[in-house]
C-alpha cells in the first residue's frame, strides 16, 4: 500500500513590512541593503510563534478531515519557544489529537523540515502529522533581516487517498557550515554567500538531486516543480540549471511577500506547489544544511483531494502591511521599548491550574448541557442556565465553530504588546458566548456582527520566567 502525502496546509502571519522601510531605517549604517529592498517580508505578531503557526498550519491541513486517525505528530524547528518543553505536545492538545498521539520535536538545523518529511515518508508509519514552523530572528541591519520571514507548513501522511507519493530520495551529509547559531544566541552567523552558492548549493545540492532522480528513475527534464529553499534570491534557478531541470519548473521562493522561513521554507514552498499540482507531475523538494536532503514526489490522481482549507496563495495575499520597523523590532525583541508600569504585572502561570483546565483552555472545549442544551465556556461546576451538575456537560470544541462580534472596543489603556487591544464579546452560532481578544483587526469595517474565526495565539508572555501560555483569539473572517 502506498504511503504518501494525503493533505497539506500552510500558515503565514498576516504582518508584512516593506523591505524598503528596513533599508531606509539602516541607510546610515548599511546603505548596501537598498539592493535588497524589494517586496515585503512576513513577520510574527507578538502573540505568534512556532507553536501557534504550527497549530494554524495543521488546522489548515486537517480542515474538515477526521483528526482521530492521526497517530503521531512531529514538529521541525530551530526556533521553538522552549529548550525543554515539547512544542508538538502543545500543538497536539490544541488540535485535540487525543492522549495517545506520539509527539516529538526536532531541529538542530534548518535542514530539519525536509529531512523530517523525508524520514517520515520513508518510515511508512501510521497516519502522521508532519509540521515545520519557524520564527527566525535577524540582527538589525543584517542581510538576514531583509531576507527572513515567518511561517509554517503541515502535511498529513497516510495510506488512504494519497495525493503525492515518493518516487525516490537522497541525502548527503558534509560539514559545510554555511551559517550557524550558537545555543542560547538569538541570531545566525553567516559565511560568504558566493562560497555557499558555489561549493554548497551548486555542488552538494546538484549531486543530491541527481542521486534522488536516479533512484526515482526520472529524467531531470521531466521535473514539473523544483523546490530549493534558500535565503537569497536566484538560487533555485541556478541549481535547476546546473541539474538540468527546466527553468519553468523552479518554484516560487516566496521572496516577494513572505521571505525565507528557515526550517519551514522547503515545506512551505511544497504546499504552494501541491496546491496547483496536476496528476502525474513530478516534484523535487530539497532541504539544505550540513549537506542536503532531496525527495522526489509524484502527484497522484487524488491530488485535488489533499488541498487545504486555504491555499498558500490566499495566505500570501492576505498580508497586512505596516510601515513601522520599530514594531517588528519590538515583537522580535531586537529593541526593548518602555511600555510603562502596567507592563510590570506578574503573569506567572499556575501550572497546576493549566493542567486541570488544559482541555478547556488549550483545546477550547466548551460544555454542552445535556439537560438544557446550553453551550458554555468556561465549564464550571454547574450549568450556567439550568444549574445541572458538571457531569451533565458534554464536550464541544469551539475552535472551528462560526461566530460573530456582539460587542467590542479598542482598549488603549491596558498593557498590551501591540496596543490598542481589541476585545469584546464573541457570540458563537452554537450558543456559546465569551469575552475574547480580537486579532488581525482592520479597524475599518470591524463592527457588531462581523463574522469571526478562531486563532490559536500566545495569551501571555511571562518575561520574568520565560514562559508563554496560549489561548484562542478571534479574527475577522477575511
Amino acid at each position: 500500500m502506498t504511503f504518501g502525502i494525503v493533505a497539506w496546509g500552510a500558515y503565514v502571519p498576516r504582518n508584512r513590512l516593506d523591505r524598503g522601510v528596513i533599508a531606509a531605517t539602516h541607510a546610515w549604517l548599511a546603505p548596501s541593503l537598498k539592493g535588497q529592498a524589494k517586496g515585503r517580508r512576513a513577520f510574527c505578531n507578538w502573540d505568534e510563534d512556532v507553536v501557534t503557526m504550527g497549530v494554524e498550519a495543521a488546522r489548515n491541513c486537517l480542515d474538515a478531515r477526521d483528526r482521530s486517525v492521526v497517530r503521531s505528530i512531529q514538529l521541525a524547528s530551530t526556533t521553538t519557544p522552549t529548550a525543554d518543553l515539547q512544542s508538538s505536545a502543545i500543538v497536539a492538545v490544541a488540535l485535540r489529537l487525543g492522549r495517545n498521539v506520539r509527539t516529538f520535536d526536532f531541529g538542530g538545523s534548518q535542514r530539519a523540515g525536509i529531512a523530517g518529511l523525508s524520514a517520515a515518508l520513508r518510515a511508512s508509519g501510521g497516519p502522521a502529522l508532519i509540521l515545520a514552523s519557524e520564527r527566525l530572528r535577524a540582527k538589525p541591519a543584517s542581510p538576514q533581516e531583509m531576507q527572513y520571514g515567518a511561517g509554517a507548513a503541515a502535511f498529513l501522511l497516510g495510506t488512504e487517498n494519497v495525493a503525492a507519493e515518493v518516487l525516490g530520495s537522497s541525502s548527503i551529509t558534509t560539514l559545510l557550515v554555511d551559517h550557524f547559531r550558537a545555543a542560547g544566541v538569538a541570531h545566525d552567523y553567516f559565511w560568504e554567500e558566493r562560497w555557499i552558492r558555489d561549493e554548497g548549493y551548486l555542488k552538494i545540492g546538484v549531486e543530491a538531486i541527481r542521486t534522488a532522480l536516479d533512484e526515482a528513475g526520472v529524467a531531470a527534464a521531466d521535473v514539473a516543480s523544483f523546490i530549493f529553499p534558500a535565503p537569497s534570491r536566484g538560487v533555485g534557478a541556478a541549481v535547476a540549471k546546473a541539474a538540468g531541470i527546466p527553468a519553468e519548473a523552479v518554484a516560487d521562493g516566496l521572496e516577494s511577500d513572505v521571505g525565507f522561513t528557515g526550517t519551514a521554507h522547503g515545506p512551505l514552498m511544497l504546499t504552494g506547489v501541491l496546491d496547483r499540482a496536476e496528476p502525474g507531475q513530478v516534484i523535487v523538494v530539497t532541504g539544505f544544511g550540513q549537506g542536503c536532503d532531496v525527495v522526489v514526489l509524484r502527484a497522484t490522481g487524488a491530488i485535488a483531494s489533499g488541498r487545504p482549507g486555504e491555499p498558500l496563495a490566499v495566505l500570501v495575499a492576505e498580508g497586512q502591511t505596516t510601515q513601522s520597523y520599530a514594531q517588528m523590532a519590538a515583537f522580535y525583541g531586537e529593541i526593548d521599548p518602555d511600555q510603562g508600569m502596567r507592563a510590570e504585572r506578574d503573569t506567572k502561570t499556575a501550572l497546576t491550574e493549566q493542567y486541570r483546565s488544559s482541555d478547556q483552555v488549550n483545546g477550547f472545549v466548551a460544555g454542552k448541557c445535556s439537560s438544557c442544551g446550553q453551550v458554555q465556556f468556561p465549564q464550571l461546576a454547574y450549568c450556567v442556565s439550568c444549574q445541572a451538575p458538571a457531569s451533565a456537560l458534554e464536550p464541544q470544541c469551539l475552535a472551528e465553530e462560526p461566530a460573530s462580534v456582539l460587542t467590542y472596543t479598542a482598549d488603549a489603556l491596558t498593557f498590551h504588546p501591540s496596543p490598542p487591544m481589541y476585545m469584546g464579546f464573541v457570540q458563537f452560532d452554537a450558543g456559546a458566548r465569551l469575552l475574547m481578544e480580537f486579532v488581525d483587526v482592520d479597524p475599518d469595517g470591524f463592527d457588531v456582527g462581523t463574522r469571526l474565526r478562531m486563532r490559536f495565539r500566545i495569551k501571555e508572555r511571562d518575561m520574568t520566567r520565560g514562559y508563554y501560555r496560549y489561548f484562542w483569539k478571534a479574527a475577522p473572517v477575511a
Partner: protein, 398 residues
Amino acid sequence: MASGIKDKVAIIGMGCSRFGERWDVGTEALLAEAFDEAMEDAGIERSQIDAAWTGSCFDRINVGNSAIPAATALRLDGIPVSRMENMCATGTEALRGAAYAVASGAVDIALAIGSEKLKDTGYGGLPVQTKGTFNDLWLPMGSAPAGFAQLATGYRSRHNIPKEDLKRAIGHVSWKSHQNGVLSPKAHLRKAVPIETILNAPMIAEPLGLFDCCGVSDGAAAAIVTTPEIARALGKHDLVTIKAIQLSVSSGLESTTDQWDGSYVRNTRNAASKAYKEAGITNPREQLGLIEVHDCFSITELVTMEDLFLSEEGRAVNDVLDGLYDRDGAVPCQVDGGLKCFGHPIGASGLRMAYEIYNQLLGRAGERQLSNVSIGLTHNLGGVPYLGVAAVSVLGLQ
C-alpha cells in the same frame, strides 16, 4: 417574604474626607479624616461603637488585607471589625453589614467605613490586578474602560443609535457632572469643562474618551448607624433612615449565554427592583428627589437611567440631552459631581454617595442644596456590566 430593613436603621453620623490626589496623606490618615467627622456628627465616643465594617478594594496599595490594619489605624479596640471587599460596591457593602447588624439587634451602634488609596501606584488609572489562576488563563486582561465600552457598543446596536449621537449624550453626562463638581468643596475635580473638549478628548477605550472616565482618587467615607430609638435617645431629631439596601451579583448568564443583548445591566435592574419594593417606591421618577449613581464611565450613567427605570428603554439619550438629570432637571443626578468629579476611591464611593444624600436630606449641602428633598438613591456597580455586582440603597427622612 422577608420584611426588609426599611426604617429599622438610622444614620446618625457621616464623614467624608477630601477626595483627590492626596499626596499629603496615607490611607490611615484618610480613614481618620472621615471617621473624625462622622464621630463628631454622631456625637458619640469610640467606646460606644459595638462593631465595624471596613471596606477597601485593593489591599496591596491600602492599609493591607483583613480588618486589622484599619482597626489599628482607628484604634478600634477589642470589638468585631470585618473587612468588606466587593469591588466598586465595597462602600455600600460596608454600610449593608453595619445596617444588618443593627437591624438584627446584634449591636446597638455600628460603624461602616470605606477607603481607597489609588494614587500610590506610580501611574494613572486603576491598579492592574489578577482575575484568579483559572480566569487569567483565558479572560482578556482589559482595562475597566474597555469593560464598560462593551456596554456602549451593545446599547448602540440594540437601539440603532448612531455613534455620534451616543457620543454626544455621554458627553453631556460628563459635562453636567463637571458643572456640579464646581460646587463640591471636597471634590477631586472642581472645574467646568466645555462640551467640545469632552467630545474631542483622546480615546481611552472607544467610544470612551478621557472625559468619559471618572477621576481616580484617594479618599475615605464613613457612616455611623443605630436604631431610630437609640438615635432619638441620643438627641437626634431629623432622622435619616435606610429604606432599602439591595445587591445583585452575576452568575455568568450575561457573559456566557445569549440571554443578554449587551444594552443594559441586569444586576442594576435586579437590585433596583428589589430596593424599590423594600423601600415602597412605585414611581421612582416622581418619588426620588436626587440620585447618586455609579458613573465610573459616562455610558454607565446613561444606561443606568434606564436600569433604574427612570428613562424608558432606548430613551436615555434623549432624556440626558433634554437635561432631565441635570442639577435643575426632574431627577438631579450626581449633584456633588459623582464619581466623575467628586472622585472614585473605590472602597469609599458607596459611602460618599450616601454622604451626599444624607446631607441633602438634612439640608446641609451648602451651595449644592436642593429644595424639598425627602428621599434619595445610591447606586454602585462593581466589576463590569456583564460580570459584576450592583448595589442600590434608598435613604430618606423618617
